[in-house]
Symmetry: C2
Subunit: 247 residues, 2 copies
DNA sequence: ATTCATATACTACCATGGCAGTATGTCAAC
DNA sequence: GTTGACATACTGCCATGGTAGTATATGAAT
């Protein structure tokens, strides 16, 4: 598990002073700062706005965001717990490399949990859930037709989350969401493909149909097939961007 | 947690009480303090040395342990992430209640993952793993015969951990270990029962036999039965100690 | 050109003080 | 007895300074 030594950061002129220009959006001092910093950094990493091996300095980040080092540090610790950054004491903190092994294990964890969730819901779920999930499917179709990729990703996330919530498994969703970050990062390796979105949408429909029919094995199988499709495309993307993916 | 110093903390043993307080064992200032505080508090909570709704004050803990509030605070945040404590800003931090719902969901997560691991290993594992796991089983039997309960719990943990390691799923084990904390806490609700340990040992044997035979479904079934047994006894214990268990 | 000692500029980790927000005790008004 | 205002004693959250440890640059010696 010995992380590879973080090679020296290619001096891409980080000397550009932070005159508050790249301030994005100011931190709201009335709400917990640590959480805001965490959310912002997590988004930056998962969307590849920050690339692997890029350094995250407590001090520099605190200056850029206009907050103290303490909440920044707490955010970095949380990100390290989720495997998005590597902290080397007294050396520095760096965006973790995209390791194919980690992506595959994230897929394993997610599939194990979500298949079990799907099987459970196929064994019984509320009418309200079915109507809501079908409404979500309808919105997904609209998003695909409108080529609204980001919206589709949001609906996709809500789709999977609602399964856990209907099953009363909120902690499970937290685990899934945490490991999903590794796969989300791979998604951003290339621009989304419209045809691929249609495949995903049809798989979503198959899952809902199996759940509604009460077919446990079919629900489990459909969910597994769906998640493996996500992994398959992730691998394909990895092949195309070997400069950013390890292993 | 990637990239943090390996902080070995000698397990329970000599607990020399220093003057005037339950200092247990001094913090080693040469190793990361936050990690040591975390380990200590986690153990105190899971062994019910600290009971639900007991307060954990940053300031008080820092005085008791002879460290500053910062590493204590970071330890509390980690414990909150794992659901062992509840932090109410500006009000206080308290040991989380044992909620039966949380225990059941921890069981769900653990079963989903470990069943998948068992199925994977039944599909193929190394000879070295089989010899090592059988060696562990042998030690388990010795521990049961010697009525060495704590030793059995350690071997049990190593048993399950080695499954994940053999499958190359270290992150999965971290997830399992994290959710397992909720169940560990229930285990300490009563003294261990020798007959129960024999049941667990036999279930362990059945799992290993199925894996060695390459019977995927049997391996999965044995693992599921084993983990459900653990939950069943947990529920029984909860009934006996409703004063400490919610819901 | 290589090696080795040392100065320097970082890093994350920890200690400590100040702050806003919350619970509680006290006491006057009804 | 009940209510409400206010002082007080906490809490966790954040800001900031100091320290040990690490990487790199510099330069003398080989």
């Amino acid at each position: 598990m010995a992380g590879r030594r973080p090679n020296q950061i290619s001096g891409a002129g980080s000397t550009e002073t932070t005159a508050g220009s790249t301030q994005m959006q100011a931190i709201n001092p009335r709400q917990p700062i640590a959480g805001q910093v965490y959310e912002r950094l997590r988004r930056a990493i998962t969307t590849l706005s920050m690339l692997p091996s890029e350094a995250l300095s407590e001090k520099e980040l605190s200056l850029q965001l206009g907050v103290s080092r303490t909440p920044v540090r707490e955010a970095l610790i949380r990100l390290a717990d989720e495997g998005l950054i590597d902290i080397f004491p007294q050396r520095g903190s760096f965006v973790a490399p995209i390791r194919l092994r980690d992506v595959e294990e994230a897929q394993f964890i997610r599939e194990s949990l979500e298949v079990a969730v799907a099987r459970r819901l196929a064994g019984g779920c509320s009418r309200r859930f079915l109507t809501e999930i079908k409404s979500n499917l309808y919105d997904q179709e609209k998003a695909v037709n409108a080529e609204a990729f980001d919206l589709f990703l949001e609906l996709d996330e809500a789709f999977h989350k609602s399964f856990c919530e209907e099953a009363g498994l909120s902690k499970s969703w937290r685990v899934i969401q945490s490991v999903k970050l590794q796969m989300d990062r791979v998604r951003y390796l290339s621009l989304p493909d419209l045809g691929h979105l249609r495949v995903l949408l049809n798989q979503h429909r198959a899952i809902v149909d199996a759940v509604e029919a009460g077919d446990l094995e079919q629900a489990a199988h459909s969910m597994a097939a769906h998640l493996r499709e996500v992994l398959r495309t992730a691998k394909t993307l990895s092949e195309q961007r070997r400069d950013l993916v390890e292993n």
